[in-house]
């Protein structure tokens, strides 16, 4: 059963891709036994390198992919079961998605109005004027204006397109947004625009956001809690500050250490940590699992590692004192 404190709860979710047959069968465990929960009005950041499965995870939740096993609950209702029309409706009414590539994610053959209004149409809004009104309203919210509604995506710059993408997701007033790398394809000067906009909208609509990105700084800035993924697994989940202050899993530490700091005085002397699962873990005797080291700070580790991590936390607290 699901925990009522979570709006979205993912339990032991797996998504495997298989290719080939028989002896050639190749299984890629894109998402492997991942569990976490997102509280209402919370932003949950998911961070990891390309290919770690974070995008697959997002897409599996919103059922672009069918889960191989495991469950996903939304508002207490399982949304990972058999796909029915009713479930599809439930999903689309509650969860919307923002995509990474501002060029790729808008249909070049449709006007902005058509793109944004499509969600309404699917929901059975037939009145053209009504659609128009709401599209314009949404456009204004994302900083565009009425005149933009009749335009085609190619006329817009990257940032504008991403804002259109956001408008498309929000027009159906979902409870939750899955934002899949919404800023990583944007220019530096535009990223801030979009992040600020998302932040504003989050406030305004009281949105719950699953924020997927590879840039730890952005995730940290934007999210309340962060999950770190490594090769299909969630290795650490913590509140943003905790994660930054007390990274426990060696991969999280490596990730943090690799972020180039925009500070010429420190950047060069920065000590980079390497992560090598073979070297850093010994799981031959003990099986790792998600362990809550501190309140709301989970790490994927074996019992002995857990003990060590607890120790680190304690000493950190002491040092902080």
């Amino acid at each position: 059963m699901s925990d009522s404190t979570y709006l979205l709860e993912v339990k032991n979710l797996c998504r495997h891709f298989t290719s080939g047959r028989g002896k050639n069968k190749l299984v890629v465990k894109a998402v492997d036994n991942v569990s976490f929960g997102v509280k209402p009005a919370e932003t949950f950041g998911l961070v990891g390198e390309s290919g770690c499965g974070k995008t697959t995870l997002g897409r599996t939740i919103i059922r672009l992919y069918d889960p191989t096993s495991g469950q996903v609950f939304f508002n207490g209702r399982e949304i990972s079961g058999k796909m029915t029309g009713e479930l599809r409706r439930y999903l689309t009414e509650n969860i919307a998605m923002i995509f990474q590539d501002p060029i790729e994610s808008l249909n070049p053959r449709m006007t902005v109005e058509e793109i944004i209004g499509e969600g309404l149409k699917v929901r059975g809004v037939k009145d053209k004027a009504e659609i128009r009104r709401r599209v314009v309203e949404m456009l204004k919210k994302v900083g565009l204006n009425e005149e933009h509604a009749t335009r085609y995506p190619h006329e817009f710059s990257g940032g504008q397109r991403q804002r259109i993408g956001i408008a498309r997701a929000l027009i159906v007033q979902p409870k939750m947004i899955i934002a899949d790398e919404p800023v990583s394809a944007l220019d530096v000067s535009i990223q801030a625009q979009v992040i600020n906009l998302l932040n504003d909208l989050k406030e305004e609509f009281g949105l719950t956001i699953l924020f997927i990105a590879h840039n730890l700084s952005v995730v940290k800035y934007f999210s309340d809690r962060i999950g770190v993924m490594y090769y299909g697994r969630l290795v650490e989940v913590a509140r943003g500050e905790d994660l930054y202050a007390k990274p426990l899993h060696p991969y999280t530490r490596a990730l943090l250490s690799a972020i180039p700091e925009p500070n010429p005085l420190t950047a060069r002397n920065k000590k980079r940590l390497d992560y090598d699962p073979e070297r850093d873990h010994d799981y031959s005797r003990e099986k790792p699992e998600m362990v809550e080291i501190e309140p709301e700070h989970f790490v994927y580790c074996s019992p002995s590692e857990a003990a060590r991590y607890r120790e680190i936390c304690r000493s950190a607290v002491k040092a902080g004192d």
């Binding site: 390198e49 000067s189 801030a192 590879h214 700084s217 250490s257 925009p262 500070n263 980079r272």
Partner: protein, 352 residues
């Protein structure tokens, strides 16, 4: 500029103007870029996509696409003006004197050729090495750029390598001709953070070992801070601010630099981000005056009329903004940026 410095300059770009013919009209991609590269230093060029930084280095390498023309300017290297060289003459420079590392290592490597051969090729064809010697050298290079198990890797194809490894191959190729200048065109943009860190380390290491001069192009200020001795900030085909890393990061003078520095959150950012409104200008008809003026909340009236000159702030620090004019009102950098710089300074001190 000091005399000593001048002697050390090995590459000088002077008032470079490059434009493209396109369907829509003439795109003025680079408009009067001037900078120099000194021996053993790393110069970074920072800017968004479309700011003209890649075009600048393509002009230096002589690999501009056919619809581009160098309108004016000079690129002085070793007593030659590279803009005037014939294709023939350029062969003696490309690869041998100047190496280039690309942004996307996947598309930069020939997908159907063994990586070893791709490295060897340059050695054999342009340096007339024997096949055996070239192979030996290629293996050394691969080792030098940190590729394990070189003998096996030598005979593999690009698609069998990970992104970081591919970039190492590209670096090895760039080093094959033993150049004195290495140009890196966003070499880590397509890579993951951890891999990026390693590649940056590698480039720095190679630079030290081989006494290379590096031109480093990126849009990531974090990378700039890691790599650059001096920084040129480009916007709309112009260098709007230039200075040493410390100067640009701690005493930025141009509003665009301010915006850049403060628009990205770092791990400690909590305050609302400083965002640059609007969109970059259309380079077919760049706005008169300061191209940044329309997006600049500190824009002066003259910004819309007249291009600002590069005001000298210190011997090494220049910025093209009318705000530096004595008559201009004194404008402080945004509060958010101030706190961030303050924090950075503290951190630096703390680290020491």
């Amino acid at each position: 500029m000091a005399e000593r410095d001048k002697r050390d300059v090995i590459l000088q770009v002077k008032d470079l103007n490059v434009s493209f013919r396109t369907y829509g009209g003439i795109v003025r991609a680079v408009r009067g870029v001037t900078f120099d590269l000194r021996r053993g230093e790393t110069v970074a060029i920072v800017g968004e996509s479309g700011s003209g930084k890649s075009v600048t280095i393509k002009a230096i390498m002589g690999i501009l696409p056919s619809n581009a023309t160098i309108e004016s300017g000079e690129i002085l290297y070793g007593g030659m003006d590279l803009t005037k060289l014939t294709e023939e003459e350029f062969h003696n420079i490309r690869g041998k004197r100047i190496g280039l590392i690309f942004q996307d290592p996947l598309s930069a490597l020939n997908p159907i050729m063994k990586v070893g051969n791709q490295i060897m090729e340059a050695l054999i064809l342009s340096q007339k090495m024997s096949k055996k010697a070239a192979r030996q050298r290629a293996l050394e290079l691969m080792e030098a750029v940190g590729i394990p198990d070189v003998e096996r890797r030598f005979n593999q194809y690009p698609f069998q390598f990970s992104g970081g490894m591919r970039q190492r191959i590209v670096i090895a190729i760039a080093l094959a001709g033993d150049p004195e200048i290495l140009i890196c065109d966003e070499p880590t943009t397509a890579l993951d953070v951890t891999v990026q860190a390693r590649i940056l380390e590698l480039i720095n290491k190679i630079k030290e070992e081989r006494h290379l001069s590096v031109i480093f192009i990126t849009h990531d200020l974090g990378v700039v801070a890691t790599m650059a001795d001096r920084v040129n900030v480009m916007y709309a085909g112009k260098i709007v601010e230039t200075g040493t890393s410390e100067e640009v990061f701690f005493e930025p003078a141009h509003p665009y630099t301010w915006a850049l520095l403060s628009s990205m959150p770092d791990l400690e950012t909590k305050e609302r981000l400083f965002s640059i409104p609007g969109t970059p200008p259309n380079m077919i008809s760049p706005p008169p005056g300061d191209a940044f003026s329309v997006r600049n909340r500190y824009a002066l009236r003259i910004d819309f009329e007249k291009e600002p000159p590069l005001f000298k702030i210190t011997d090494t620090h220049y910025a093209a903004t009318w705000l530096l004019h004595p008559k201009a009102p004194r404008v402080e950098m945004p509060e958010a940026l101030k706190t961030r710089i303050e924090r950075m300074r503290r951190r630096a001190v703390g680290n020491e």
